[in-house]
Amino acid sequence: MANIFRMLHWACRVILAGIFLYSGYVKLQSPLQFAAAITGYKLVPDSLVFPLATYLPWLEIALGVLLLSGWKVRYVALGASALLLGFIAILTTTYLRGIDADCGCFGFGDKISPKTIARDMLILLPAIYLAVEFRLRKPATNPPE
């Protein structure tokens, strides 16, 4: 049982870290394209678009690196969950407002749809698991943090 938990723990960390690293890297490749995607959401004032497009990818990369490093996994996973919940809320409200915007999640050309929202919800699962796994496991099997 402990092995299953351990494998699940590592799988969640590696998958989540990979997603954040890839997502951050893609956005860093073209901050202006990401800025165009943020503009499409019609949620933030123009003055905040470029700073957001510049710094958000670094936050994603930082989360990816921290998840891989294993440092304070529970708290990093909480941060990742909060960020993903924020993304899901923004995607959902934009979709419900009927705005035909590009997701900007993993590059250009991915329109916001129920599929993109469901995908983010799926990504949220490992983040939530890592944040709450300590409650599911016996203290002796907890991974070092």
Binding site: L28, S30, P31, L32, Q33, A36, S47, V49, F50, T54
Partner: protein, 200 residues
Amino acid sequence: MLVALDLMLLGFPLLIPAPVAAQSCEQCLGGWLDAPVKIEVFSDFECPACRVFFLDTVKYVLVDYANIDKVCVIYREFPLAIHKYSHDAARYSLAAQKLGRQQWLSVVESMYTNQEVWAKDGSVQAFVARALSPEDFQRVLKLKDDPSIEQTIARDIALGQKREVQSTPTFFITYLNKEQKVVGGLPYPVLRQFFDKIVK
């Protein structure tokens, strides 16, 4: 290299050399080719997003950055097949370009401002006439039928296809030997923040 670029945007020095992007032999419609930033726009005169991008963004870039040679602006004609009159508009634009930057600007501004009207009835010529003096208008009428205009349009379309332009507006920004492709427009305040990071 991409990470280096973004470190630069964050205020860190550029550490890793980047490959030199393809240089254009085109004349800038604002600024000079050796400007620190080059913006190359693939545009269609009948496309509403191109209209917004020109009137709300590019026009201000020309005034605030191109006029002081911080940014070189190049416009490429990319008339889409779904638009009935955009090819004709592109010919007027290129003909006006041959007269000078000011004439080009007047014609393009007039065509974009009145896009909704001529896109319905094809009356592009009326709005070109409105933007120019009678002498310049007569010159444009002659120039627009010059075979070199058609060749330029064909070359711009081929260039766009080669660079995988699939919709308009699509623009390429070249700076610090790096190139970024952006599909869709960007509001001027966003682009201004980016330019200010690069050209201070």
